[in-house]
Symmetry: C2
Subunit: 400 residues, 2 copies
């Protein structure tokens, strides 16, 4: 028996965070990870740039999240650098954790000549262990030495933020204003520790206020539409940055920002710790958008649905019965369910369909599972990953 | 690589449903299951006995649930028989399904000489397929021939209600009034189709009204405290029956009824389609009982928690971060987490504990995961199963 699911070659655009004019980056190995893989990443702007962020809502927010929220507020969204370490989440680390997160910002600020509150800090990795701060200091110092605007430097940044990721996640568009983004994390039903960090940058012109106004909707259609952020981890962070080096206003770059963010979100679901596919759950005709999202969540959070997706099993009973369980749904009499374009349930009753053909259609990297209710015009879309043997393997033995 | 987890020998009390005076039972193979295993079960009382039931709240309730609700209402809880088929849930089967469920009751009623509404009907198995009614008829006819009050007949009833169960589930107490119960189903994060049927009978004296009054609390501390009924399947049914053949009043039998029901619920969680253990999640000190239950649900529904339980991984970060995600929790500053008696998190911060010893302590059939908040006196307890390779194996290939 083998559980190997070869990952497809993912389209890697010829760009990285450093493709955005005004940004330099670096990624180095500082020995935080036992594996010796890169674990300190640094992104620096030559002058203050606009920044907005969305952070975890978990009450157990990690020290870097607490510090970054403070810094964004104090700097009113004008930042000079982002410093990241992987291998240790600096979460559940008390006062010492806060001191360490502040020290990371101070060290970068002193070197590049800015105020500490102009530096944003992120950490990802295991929680409940004190940051090995001596190593982090050395890592920051060598990253400062290696800062570059070359594409390779942006790629080094990306590699240094990864933890359990099966592959690097980047996306970008170079037409018009440049937009480039990277992220780390694996989509799953519930939070891994320190699961998602995402950085999307553009050289379009934007004020921090414009970014802060735009970021909720961008997140809603991307990172918050993966079944990961609904159960936020202690460290989740999404930063949107605008260097203003291009003539373009934010409005002209916004569609590209949304596409890049959605692509990154898709990559997170695609990783999904053993995922073999990404399933897009689409619900229309619910009472309202909130009800549609509740149905999406109920379906995506079902281990039975997710194992059926893994097994290429067109088990519509599992899909529609989850709709029947939603308090937000009044009646399933009008319910239809369409799996990869095949109507498997219509107006509250199963259809006759070719099971083998439907199962074959599920053997795809992109699976679409659509539901239509007849209760209103509510609509929601959610990405989720399937649940297979590798998920258990990865998650049953993460810390021991 | 092997996924075999040998099941322990479970204590099987020397009783079955037929130990309750006034009940005869039978279980036969009627060819509904392709395997040829028993699939029609019948329980008959010589005269009307008191009955109360709790049924699925899924809006996709199966035909037998619809019919049984009707019959219980019409008979005011005075019933003569319960007829069950496994191998087919008679769910999502439209008008024909309702006709078939009614015919099952009528056939039994005619044979034993009662009104159809004095017969309760249950089905369990795959959904969306018409009941093979000719086979069901033949099964009912031969079950009627084999009715007996011998223990073997009660056991035959039990075998005939099983579907994916890894082992039969029965429990009973013979001191004072006799209480005996059987059930089928496997605890899981979300509903399998037609997942739980439970029948608990006593020869104590009770009116239908007394049973109906008692059953919600009995279910709340047993079948509704397994992480299965919170996401009810299309066919879930729990019947409580009292034959009145003993002198004892319901009040004297009630503690035994509760213990038997809890034991059956534990067996459901223990089965759990590949489960290797039962974890009892206990939350105290929440704002109120509802908040405590919400925390239990959040923890039990996390695939990350459940894989950690499977992997004997004392990954307290996954446990406590789920508490931090609950909107019903105000603050985690006072939170403590105790795993198998080992305090792994105290007053909002991790403790130093022996990981290897904690992991060893998790290698038990009964695992206790306790949480203490400092926000009130709310309390809740929930049973859940772990999530391992076998869960994926069982559920990825259920219908195909």
């Amino acid at each position: 028996m083998t559980f190997a699911h070869p990952l497809p070659v993912l389209p890697s655009p010829p760009c990285s965070l450093t493709s955005v004019r005004g940004l330099r980056a670096a990624g180095v190995a500082a020995g935080i990870k036992a594996s010796g893989a890169p674990d300190v990443a640094l992104l620096v702007a030559d002058e203050p740039i606009a920044c907005a962020g969305i952070f975890t809502q978990n009450k157990l927010a990690a020290a870097p999240v607490v510090v970054s929220r403070e810094h964004l507020a104090r700097s009113r969204g004008h930042v000079r650098a982002v410093v990241v370490n992987s291998g240790n989440a600096n979460a559940c680390t008390g006062e010492q954790g806060l001191r360490d997160a502040r020290e990371m910002c101070e060290r970068v600020a002193r070197a590049i000549g800015c105020a500490p509150h102009e530096v944003i800090v992120c950490s990802t990795g295991v929680i409940g262990h004190a940051l090995p701060i001596a190593r982090v200091r050395r890592g920051i110092d060598s990253a400062l030495q290696e800062l570059s605007d070359e594409m390779a430097a942006g790629r080094a940044f990306l590699r240094a933020i990864m933890t359990t990721d099966a592959f690097p996640k980047e996306a970008g568009e170079l037409d018009g204003a440049t937009v480039a983004g990277v992220c780390k994390g694996a989509g799953m039903i519930h939070p891994n520790m320190a699961t998602m960090l995402a950085f999307v940058a553009t050289d379009a012109q934007a004020t921090p206020g414009e970014l802060a106004h735009a970021i909720p909707a961008i997140a809603a259609s991307s990172f918050n539409a993966v079944h990961v952020d609904t159960h936020p981890s202690t460290n989740d962070t999404f930063l949107l940055l605008a260097t203003g080096r291009a003539d373009a206003p934010l409005s002209s770059a916004r569609p590209a920002i949304e596409r890049v963010s959605r692509r990154l979100a898709w990559l997170i679901a695609r990783d999904g710790e053993g995922a073999t596919k990404v399933t897009t759950i689409d619900v229309r005709g619910a009472r309202d958008d909130r009800a549609a999202r509740a149905v999406c969540d109920a379906i995506a959070s079902s281990a039975l649905v997710r194992t059926a997706l893994f097994g290429n099993d067109p088990n519509w009973g599992r899909f529609v019965s989850q709709v029947g369980n939603c308090p937000e749904v009044g009646s399933i009499e009008g319910l239809s369910c369409i799996l990869q374009g095949i109507t498997v349930f219509e107006h509250g009753a199963p259809t006759r369909f070719d099971r083998a053909a439907a199962s074959q259609a599920m053997r795809a990297e992109d699976v679409h599972l659509d539901f239509v209710l007849r209760e209103g015009s509510g609509h929601a879309t959610l990405l989720t990953s399937d649940l297979g043997y590798r998920y258990v393997e990865v998650n049953a033995e993460y810390t021991t």
